[in-house]
């Protein structure tokens, strides 16, 4: 079946089997390996991407279901060569650790801040409750998202030079 999707702003068309999962379409057909493929059972959240700006677990979503829709992956967070604050937050606060859950954590973290720019720690923990970190390093991940909340894009230039 032919599928046309917009991935990080670029339209792509591919022929896929209907059974192809979105995570494999992204990684194996589009060769974008930033999205990780983890538990395969919609528990761990490593495969989280946005479909029409909503985070979904791409291991539990067929590529054909995304036809005509817009997908954002972790590669799409960076804008004009500048990392998104959520990415900088993970650097600043050592939120990556082993790095496996990181793309999913960043996608839910960014989506959370887009809806709620100043979340409480409890709201952040609820927000990432569908994402499992097997390093169990949630403290640094929460701190990374808090860092991003404190350094939004609009004020970034001044803070970077300050």
């Amino acid at each position: 079946m032919q599928v046309t999707v917009t991935v990080n702003g670029q339209e792509v068309t591919r022929d896929v089997e209907p059974r192809t999962l979105l995570v494999h379409f992204i990684r194996d057909d589009l060769l974008m390996r930033g999205t990780h493929w983890g538990c395969d059972t919609s528990n761990c959240g490593a495969c989280t991407v946005w479909v029409d700006d909503e985070p979904v677990k791409s291991c539990t979503y067929l590529a054909v279901q995304a036809d005509g829709k817009s997908i954002t992956t972790v590669e799409g967070l960076e804008k004009n060569g500048e990392l998104d604050p959520i990415q900088k937050g993970f650097m600043e606060c050592h939120g990556l650790q082993c790095g496996y859950c990181t793309p999913g954590m960043m996608m839910v973290g960014r989506a959370l801040l887009d809806k709620n720019p100043h979340p409480s720690e409890a709201e952040i923990r609820e927000g990432i409750s569908g994402n499992i970190c097997r390093c169990t390093g949630y403290k640094n991940i929460v701190a990374s998202i808090q860092w991003a909340a404190e350094h939004p894009v609009s004020t970034e230039a001044s803070e970077v030079t300050a």
Binding site: R19, E54, T60, Q65, G130
Partner: protein
């Protein structure tokens, strides 16, 4: 790597179109809603449909609205939209309380109330809510539309009264002025299936329980409800003693299985305790406390 077996796929654009596709594609075609039960089952070969009819892009199946004295929830309304629905929260806070403990925010972006009802998992929280509220399933098929009480919708675990070419289009809940409602759940970790759950509504008038509905999930309660406990409570004074007596019946009359979530006596104990807590809170809300 887990991948579903080869399958055909068609995207339905309306309910009529979905029914037409199900008729064309034959008995081994299945509708797919959020896919968070069906796709994992297909990966594990527990389900092997020959074709999927995708209901996700049918606008008429979306949303929460009031029609007369009922709240109508489109079958493809997502868990997140139920969690955030002001209409549902105003009339039945039980929905928000239940949604808070269903899966996680990303899964709630995708999973639907109708998909949950049709999956008929014995631990489905919203099925206990629907039975407690004595809701109705609105079903459309080639011959037209029919309505089935939610307490008759499930034939057993993973079984419903839907025919292969029928589609669940909406769930309806009667509005009950003055009702309080609450949901209680014990789970091993946040977002897991319940070990035991209780969802109730209570209408208290002049200190007496005028009406109530008691639902339980995950403990083998037939049709996710406890009519025996309801009979024990309706007409009784709205007191701790009455709630405890009714909750005891719920614990006695459910039929839990021992599994990795716990032994039978523990689940009965939880059913009693959670039903009591839910009744207490719902009755207090009904009395404006």
């Amino acid at each position: 790597m887990q991948t579903p077996a080869p399958v055909d796929y068609a995207k339905a654009t309306s309910v009529a179109h979905a029914i037409e596709l199900l008729q064309q594609l034959g008995d081994e075609a299945r509708p797919i809603a959020g896919g968070h039960s069906l796709l994992p089952m297909m990966k594990l070969r527990l389900a092997a449909p020959e074709a999927l009819v995708d209901l996700n892009d049918i606008p008429e199946l979306q949303g929460v609205r009031i029609e007369g004295d009922h709240i109508v929830v489109g079958a493809m309304t997502k868990h997140r939209d139920i969690l955030e629905s002001a209409i549902l929260h105003e009339h039945y806070p039980i929905f928000r309380e239940a949604e808070h403990v269903i899966a996680d925010p990303i899964v709630r972006n995708r999973g639907t109330i109708g998909g949950s009802a049709c999956q008929a998992d014995p631990a489905a929280d919203l099925s206990a809510v629907g039975s407690a509220l004595r809701g109705t399933a609105v079903i459309q098929g080639p011959g037209g539309t029919r309505e089935v009480p939610l307490r008759e919708f499930h034939d057993g675990p993973y079984m419903t009264v839907l025919e292969p070419t029928e589609v669940l289009v909406a769930l309806k809940y009667p509005i009950r002025p003055g009702a309080g409602s609450a949901y209680e759940k014990v789970e091993r970790r946040h977002g897991d299936w319940g070990v035991a759950t209780a969802g109730v509504f209570v209408v208290v008038r002049d200190g007496v329980v005028a009406d109530c509905g008691i639902g339980n999930a995950a403990v083998g309660a037939e049709h996710y409800c406890s009519p025996g406990a309801e009979d024990a409570l309706i007409g009784q004074p709205a007191t701790e003693e009455s709630f405890a007596a009714a909750a005891k019946v719920a614990g006695e009359q459910c039929n839990p299985s021992a599994d990795q979530r716990g032994p039978v006596d523990y689940k009965r104990h939880l059913t009693t305790e959670l039903t009591l807590r839910a009744l207490r809170r719902a009755a207090a809300a009904s009395q404006g406390a």
